[in-house]
Every structure is written in structure tokens, then in C-alpha cells.
Symmetry: C2
Subunit: 169 residues, 2 copies
Amino acid sequence: MQASSSAHRKEDVTPSCPIGRAGDLLGDRWTLLILRDATTGITRFDAFRENLGIADNILSARLARLVEAGVLTKVPYRDGNRTRQEYQLTEAGADLLPLLRSLAEWGNRHTTPAPGLAPMQMLHVSCGGQVSTGGVCGTCGQAVAREDEAWLRPWRSAEPVRLAMPAET
Amino acid sequence: MQASSSAHRKEDVTPSCPIGRAGDLLGDRWTLLILRDATTGITRFDAFRENLGIADNILSARLARLVEAGVLTKVPYRDGNRTRQEYQLTEAGADLLPLLRSLAEWGNRHTTPAPGLAPMQMLHVSCGGQVSTGGVCGTCGQAVAREDEAWLRPWRSAEPVRLAMPAET
């Protein structure tokens, strides 16, 4: 037997714990911001870059990793005479919604916003109620379908934005 | 006006978005693993180090950051003749439970475990049902209190482990 060359990690390449496996992919600030943006409808490289103020090489690397992990998928679109690729959520990417909701809820509750800023709200479009981390409407008590959820982020827009749907496969 | 010296970030020091603020602290693989371990009852520096196989300086830095952010708190304990510090979750740290559940659920569903490994389960102790990301028991339908939740991680122990409670303040 040979000592592992990866002396920093006790766990195997594939961690036993699903939190460890998810954290290997998602335990990265830029990755979380990219997934937030994808969830609110951003699909194009330039739009991610513009919105995040992220360097090209970092954005490229993160997007490639998310595509490889099956969380985003590349979909061709026409840009004038050229065919380009945009990035859409897969079903696995859409399934990160509870994670994003839990970050938003915790951030609203336990971090300090800039002064005078109204908080983010996750809304049930049909009734206007607030959606919980687990996806239940606090007003009507229904399980909220993805297509019936919108996020109000007052610093971006006065109107709530419906969530992006995963790419059709 | 002067150009920002922090050219990588478009957002202010305090991001407008609560997902951004939460991600600043939590978008880090080691941080998520430390919080998972704290949630399952690990409190001491040596135990985190042993369990995670993490370098001393990295662990120190992460723990200090979590204490500064008010997610962990240092609590003195006696070790023979010496007084040492252990790390316990605060209420804000305990409030990260939905985030950890969402990572576990996503990891169980969308990542591949080592062969032959039974999945992690989040259990309602009173009835044995599975706890959802939002903290509801899938069997009895009740909202599950923290003291009534236990995690079964078969690669660690044959018995479910009750969650650590936040430090008394």
C-alpha cells in the first residue's frame, strides 16, 4: 500500500457522505452565484459575466464544471449568422432550488443587508404568499410548483421574476 | 471617483442579495463540512481535524471565520488541569439545518456514492419517518423539532445520531 498523494483529504475521491459529495461541487461562492443567476433566467456567458463581474477564465471554468456535473447543459442558439451556446439548468440543476431558497432564507435572517434595502422574497405567484425553503406556500399551504414561483429582488427589479425552467431533454 | 481595487467583484462589500451574503460565508467546501460535523455533535478542534483530515491552519482559519460570523461560538471546557475551548453552534448556526438537509437530499439524489453504500437518512426520532429539507416528517406529517431529528450515516455508525443543540446563551 502506498500513502495517498492527496494528503489533505481523509475521505476518498468519492466521499461517503452526500453532503460531502454535494459540497465538493457546490462549496464555492461563484458556483452558488452562477446557479442563482441561472435560476432567475440568465443563460448566456456575457450575461453571467456582466451580472457577476466575474473574470472570463473563472466563469469558463465554473460553467464547464457545472456542465460536466450535469447541473447545467449547453443549448445552441442563433446570434445573427452564428450559432452560440447558452447554459440552461438540467433537472438536477433545477433540483437545487431548495438549496438556493435555504441560502436566501438564512441570508435574510442572519446577515445584515445594506441600509434601506427591502429583503428578497420568494413568492407563490397564484396567491402572493411566501414560499418556504421546502417549497410550501405560507399563505395557502400548497406545495408550490416551480412554474408558480417568482423571486422579488427589489434591488434588481420592482416586479417578481419567474424562475427559469430546466432545459427540455 | 476611483476605480475599485477589487476588480473581480461587481457587487459591494455587502452584496444586495441574501444568497450572495450567505454564499460569501458558506460557499466553501471545508466550511460546509465543518458545519455538518458541528451539527452531528463534533465540537473540538482535534475531532474536526481527525474527522476531516484537514490541515491545522485551514481548520483554524475556517473556525475563526465561523466564530466571527456568529455561526459557531467558543465555549470553555476542562481538559485535565487545562481550560480549552470547544466550538458549538449558535442559533444562527443551528438555523443552517435546512441548508445541510438540502445538500444531503441533493447529494443522495444526484451524485453517485461508492458502490454498496446505503444512503444517509434524516429521521424523525419519534416515528422513524424521513425528514424533508423543510423539516417536515414524510410519515406523520409533523414539523420535526431539532431535538427530535437524527441522522443515519451507515458508513459512520449503525445507529442514527441525534443532532447537536445550539449553545445556551
